[in-house]
């Protein structure tokens, strides 16, 4: 049974506020994940609110990247990796036996730490790669590419060089290209794994501004080791430590008066 996607049509346009779409809620329930014998995520429960940005912070190795990779079922691509528990997208368990993995990944998109545009493809082909690779055939492919590039705030910068290689763009532009590529398959949820850690400050701020715009149409989760970024970008923040969820709450609360002492220690920089 494939996963059905319901989405409202948005009009192509410049960076005007697009119509908000009803976002999806992601609920992680009792998630456990292993790399071989190493228990990376331990019994985790976490909700990602629809049309909101949730940041996941924590020291290196706390399992935050593993967590998001379990949400779009990329974790199981690692040899020896194992997952137990449930991830619900608006109530539907993505790990149910009859669910098609590729449709999960279409519904839950991912942007990686280092921008990875396909080197053999042009800018246009990179964005079109999503629809092409997932078998949705060429109807209005050009329009879809333009819409995705607009949504990623990249259209104006590349509209005259759609045929140039994807790798000819700057670092920040490449990352926005990858975002456009992810958006082109029309996901419901967008996961970002440290999307700005390889970028300079201005490129970082542009992407954060982009995230702010995107949240009106998608549910977004951002893994970041930069706490200031979590502060700027996220509506709620979750703090993980050694595979466990220590605390989750509105970002303002986490950074002004967190409940857990360990959270306080981490955000004030006493460890991590």
């Amino acid at each position: 049974m494939t996963f059905t996607l319901v989405r409202t049509e948005e009009q192509a346009g410049t960076r005007s506020r697009p119509q908000p779409s009803q976002g999806r809620r992601v609920s992680v329930k009792g998630l456990n994940a292993w790399y071989g014998s190493q228990h990376a995520v331990k019994g985790l429960d976490l909700d990602f609110e629809p049309n909101r940005v949730t940041a996941i912070i924590g020291p290196s190795g706390c399992g935050k990247s593993t967590l998001v990779r379990c949400v779009n079922r990329m974790h199981e691509e690692v040899p020896g990796a194992r997952v137990e528990g449930a991830v619900l997208l608006d109530g539907q368990d993505l790990y149910a036996g009859d669910v098609d993995v590729t449709s999960v990944r279409r519904a839950v998109g991912m942007v990686f730490q280092k921008a990875n545009p396909f080197p053999t493809m042009s800018v246009f082909d990179n964005v079109a790669a999503g629809p092409r690779l997932t078998g949705s055939r060429g109807k209005d492919l050009a329009e879809r590419v333009e819409q995705s590039l607009r949504a990623a705030a990249l259209w104006d910068e590349v509209k005259d060089r759609l045929n140039k290689p994807g790798t000819s763009l700057s670092g920040g532009q490449q990352q926005r290209l990858c975002i456009a590529r992810t958006l082109a398959v029309e996901p419901e949820v967008v996961l970002m794994d440290e999307p700005c850690s390889a970028l300079d400050p201005l490129a970082t701020l542009r992407i954060e501004e982009l995230i702010e715009e995107l949240k009106s149409r998608y549910t977004i989760a951002v893994v970041t080791h930069n706490m200031q970024q979590a502060g700027r970008v996220a509506d709620s923040t979750a703090f993980m430590l050694a595979g466990e969820l220590v605390e989750v709450g509105p970002t303002e609360k986490i950074f002004t008066k967190p409940d857990d002492e360990r959270t306080e220690q981490y955000v004030t920089g006493k460890f991590g």
């Binding site: 779009n72 990944r105 519904a107 991912m110 080197p119 790669a129 999503g130 997932t134 590529r181």
Partner: protein
């Protein structure tokens, strides 16, 4: 250590060190020259002996087999080499790349994959004459599809090329960054599409290079063809029959008493060297012009 006003903070290089540096440089230079000398000598010798035999007649006529009179050229040998190697390529390359794809994309570290890798490694060390003998016994003595034939020579060469193609293709495929596969998978693509539309195109220049090198290697092998395609004078386009080839022609001619035949052998050797050189240079050009990002 005296503290003189205005002295340098860092001590200068001692004279002993400078001397040792020079000695080592000279030794390395000499060693390199030593290694290059035989190579240059061979090329020069072949060129000197071979150029004399080259002519339009040399390239356009078949060997006549006559002891006296016009010995003919090597046209059938060149054509034969091209045909046999082309067929061998068609057999070995897709299979080899397929095996490499299995090893990198699907099998990875499984026990079976490890076994396959081991056998491929063993095969790279097998002497080429063994492949020839193998095909001789299996295909010729048993009279499957007639006696000596060009295509049987191709089979022998393909067996030779296969492990080379697998090895080099695997290396190139492993060089494709995992992040590209990840990105394609994360878009929701099934694995076979990821391999076909992302991995292969990215690895293509390297695959072409590896193929060209395998071809260059196979083009020069004599032993497998001796027992399988054998030798014949006329140019033939029928791979089902005996077929001539450059290495075998050279082998044949060099043992003759006639000087003209020996000269022809040198000419053929030069032609073969040139063929291999062109293939190798093309491989270099392709790999330099593109790189895996």
């Amino acid at each position: 250590m005296s503290a003189v006003a205005g002295r340098a903070v860092l001590p200068p290089v001692s004279r002993g060190r400078r001397r040792r540096d020079l000695v080592m440089r000279v030794l390395l230079g000499l060693g390199t020259a030593l290694a290059l000398v035989p190579l240059v000598l061979v090329l020069w010798y072949v060129a000197k002996r071979g150029l004399g035999a080259w002519s339009a007649h040399f390239f356009t006529s078949d060997p006549t087999g006559n002891f006296l009179g016009d010995p003919g050229g090597v046209k059938s040998a060149i054509v034969g080499t091209v045909e046999i190697v082309a067929l061998a390529t068609v057999m070995a390359v897709p299979l080899g790349i397929g095996v490499a794809l299995y090893l990198t994309e699907y099998g990875r570290d499984s026990r079976f994959a490890k076994l396959v890798r081991y056998f491929v490694d063993v095969m790279t060390g097998v002497p080429s004459i063994v492949f020839g003998l193998f095909v001789y016994i299996v295909l010729i003595l048993s009279s499957v599809g007639g006696g000596y034939a060009g295509w049987k020579g191709s089979v022998a060469l393909a067996l030779l090329m296969l492990p080379i193609v697998v090895r080099s293709a695997e290396v190139v495929l492993l060089l494709v960054p995992g992040s590209l596969r990840e990105a394609a998978l994360a878009l929701g693509a099934p694995r076979w599409r990821v391999v076909l539309r992302v991995v292969l195109p990215t690895a293509l220049p390297g695959l072409v290079t590896g193929t060209l090198l395998a071809i260059a290697r196979a083009a020069g092998e004599t032993a497998p063809l001796l027992f399988t395609a054998a030798i014949v004078n006329g140019t033939s386009f029928d791979l089902g029959q005996r077929m001539n080839s450059l290495p075998v022609q050279i082998f044949n001619d060099i043992g003759q008493a006639q000087d003209r035949l020996v000269a022809r052998a040198w000419g053929a050797a030069l032609a073969l060297v040139l063929l291999v050189l062109i293939l190798t240079l093309s491989a270099r050009l392709i790999s330099r012009r593109s790189r895996v990002a």
